[in-house]
């Protein structure tokens, strides 16, 4: 059976003709398998959605309970059948509920990784290696300049800065789903137990994480303290989390003297940090860096590697050079060219 008969690219996204379903489609379709809850992968309006219970809960929280008419919850490792095709969801280690989709057709196995990482993350299940014939990997950080330092070091950097500037508010930009909760969880692991203040846009997802069993400690809405000059005193030396779009927004003016921090893999490149007017870049990413990508491909040992959204060219070149035939899938809609290249407002979770 040829690979294209199992999965092929269409304008709506990756399509399995035998099972008549899409993986992470960018347009409304009759039947979708969703790897994780980030907005460029999980959209509303599909006829039926198969995803992990956590991802379904995240989608319901973001889009409302009516985001699809037919939810099919698939626990990690449980075998599901869609129109006779076996689909299993396996942890991807990206955010809570994130999964790789393992699709098996006539003895051939294709793994759609979705977004993934291999680092320790207290908020989600770790990535599992599934040997396969075709491995479809993301490549958000698919260049050897991207080597994320250990997250603990970056958290230590933040805590050091808090000591150096005890009168300045540390405003940390972090994506609302996944990154925010992970930064909080790492801070708690490092022994930071003071209240952490949240931008309103993060509240719902943090509540959901708590409800799904991820402990985040003392979280408070920043807005409550913004009302009077007296209450604003609490921001001195405090950590406030906000979505990246709010970092340089008028909202942040009421936090007083602010050290602007940003938790993202893109912070590895100085120009990116400067572009966002970031003073303290925190290189913390939920995507695999170059070493994680190449190690994963070597562990998975696929017959062929297909590379999607990101810096495909470098990973394809490297894979071919070690004897694993590779090609780039030109999927549209996942922030083509690796996300960070589009102007900041459109930057996806990283």
């Amino acid at each position: 059976m040829r690979a294209e008969q199992i999965l092929r690219t269409t304008p709506a996204g990756l399509y399995c003709p035998r099972g008549d379903f899409y993986v992470d489609p960018v347009r409304p379709v009759a039947r979708a398998v969703i790897t994780h809850g980030h907005a460029d992968h999980a959209r509303a309006g599909h006829g039926a959605v198969l995803a992990t219970p956590e991802t379904l809960a995240i989608m319901a929280s973001r889009y409302g309970a009516e985001f699809t008419s037919n939810r099919q919850a698939a626990a990690y490792g449980a075998r599901n059948t869609i129109n006779g095709i076996d689909v299993t969801l396996v942890p991807a280690g990206h955010v809570l509920g994130s999964a790789q989709a393992v699709i098996e057709v006539s003895g051939k196995r294709v793994v759609v990784s979705g977004d993934y990482k291999r680092r320790q993350d207290p908020t989600c299940a770790p990535f599992e290696v599934v040997p396969c014939d075709i491995f479809i990997s993301e490549a958000t950080f698919g260049l050897p300049v991207f080597r994320h330092p250990p997250a603990e070091e970056e958290i230590a950097k933040l805590l050091r800065s808090l000591k150096t500037f005890p009168d300045r508010c540390h405003l940390v930009g972090a994506y609302s789903l996944g990154k925010a909760q992970r930064v909080i969880a790492h801070l708690r692991e490092a022994g930071y137990d003071a209240p952490i203040y949240l931008h309103g846009a993060m509240q719902k997802l943090c509540d959901l994480y708590e409800a799904l069993g991820v402990r985040l400690g003392d979280l408070r809405p920043a807005m409550d303290m913004m009302k009077t000059p007296l209450t604003r005193e609490v921001f001195k030396g405090a950590i406030v989390l906000a979505p990246p779009s709010a970092l340089n927004d008028v909202w942040s003016r009421r936090l007083g003297d602010v050290v602007t921090c940003f938790a993202s893999g893109w912070m590895r490149v100085r120009a990116r940090a400067r572009q966002r007017l970031v003073e303290l870049p925190l290189i913390i990413s939920d995507h695999a860096d170059w070493d994680e990508l190449t190690e994963t491909v070597q562990e998975v040992k696929p017959g062929a590697l297909w590379v999607t959204h990101g810096a495909e060219e470098a990973l394809v070149h490297w894979s071919n050079s070690i004897g694993i035939p590779a090609m780039a899938l030109n999927l549209v809609g996942y922030d083509e060219e690796g996300a960070g290249e589009t102007p900041p407002a459109a930057e996806p979770a990283a």
Binding site: P144, R268, Q275, A314, H317
Partner: protein, 525 residues
Amino acid sequence: MKRFAALLDSLAYQPQRNGKLRLIEAYLRDTPDPDRGWALAALTGNISFKHAKAGLIRGLAESRVDPVLFGLSYDYVGDLAETVALIWPAKPGANRAPELSEVIETLNAASKADIPRLVESWLDALDPDGRWALIKLMTGALRVGVSARLAKTATAALGGQEPDEIELVWPGLEAPYENLFAWLEGKAERPSGIARAPFRPVMLSHPIEDRDLAQLNPHDFAAEWKWDGIRVQAVSDHGEKRLYSRTGEDISAAFPDVMDLLPDDVALDGELLVFREGAPATFNDLQQRLNRKTVTKPMLRDFPAGIRAYDILHQGEDDLRPLNFRERRARLEALLTTAARDRLDLSPLVPVTNWDDLQTKRSNPPSPAVEGLMLKRWDSAYLPGRVRGEWFKWKRDPHLVDAVLMYAQRGHGKRSSFYSDYTFGVWKGAELVPVGKAYFGFTDEELKEIDRFVRNNTENKFGPVREVTHTSETGLVFEVAFEGLARSARHKSGVAMRFPRINRLRWDKPPRDADRIETLEAMLA
């Protein structure tokens, strides 16, 4: 090296001038000699290594990393030092990281053949920030948003001095400046008597528009032609002669022909120009002489440089800067009555009766090397910097053409996520030919719009360059402003623009209505 790397790193992220000053001052205060002196030399652009060049660094990286992956990474990051610093494969068990002074002294003493091995061992020993700082240091372009002037200002603050005091002693100093720091910290006398022919910070002008003139009284102002060369300060002092750029960079070595012209014991402010039979040539000619460390005989013969003087700052033992412009002008004219010669002359005053009359004169300049008028208040003392309300530049209106965006390239530095460098063309028959490249003139908001247009209308990708749709019906028209036009064999269109920039986005205009090459050719005549 670690401390220096941390300084560069924090400077790179610090957007505010005052913040940068504080960081440098703190570093200089806390770092012992000679490291801090070498750091100051690096920040003021006074370090260069003969054998340590960007090519060497690149070569080392390519010997350790797959060249294809290196190339892709460099295209993405847009900065060689950062690419190598990030991509360099870590080597467990490497040597200890070197100190800044150790790096500099070793590089200065090392033979060419030893340098690659040395640099390689340092790259192995340093972390990514340290590698970045090392490469920046070696290749001589720190690019952390610190000018020599800012670094000197921070140094002055160390001893509660004015930055101009540093400028005065600076030419007599040598890195690592131990005598300078000793003076600033009150441990020694001011380094004096050794500073000959110092640079004096230049007075700058504000641009002025036609409509703003009504608020000024024409009788308060002297007018001069604004020459299209580069601003220089020529200083001679007890036999020592130096030529400085307007930022205080010493460019004497590249202009021996100019040094020969200087009268004794003066500091002149004027325009550096190429002269042909007593008349200034265009900027295009001068350009052949710029950005060179030395100069060849044919260059001196074919592009002889000189100075058209318009101010005098010092004469004999007298500092003339506190005098007003009228008095200084008289001193300058008196000097040049006897000292003027071929390629050293006086920039004439343009008589001012009223603004309308001056406007007419501005539109009919006596030379192609004129780019407008300078207006200087008769009673202005010579003050450093851009002093409000004293001097104005009233530039000639730029030329405008409508051209079509053909190629877009990703920017560097802060704009490396945007397609911000644009090649544009005009019609030649039924075809567009490129006539220039511009990367500024638009607002941040417009940049986002153009970037979006480029991404949505890409025909081809060549590394960091995209070919953008440019048919007679579909494409983006720019109104391009530029200062002048010269014939060029390098460009397919046969013309090259001076100082092109995007004046306006013409979303309303279909590409077929853009200008034709004939319009530009007519401007050449």
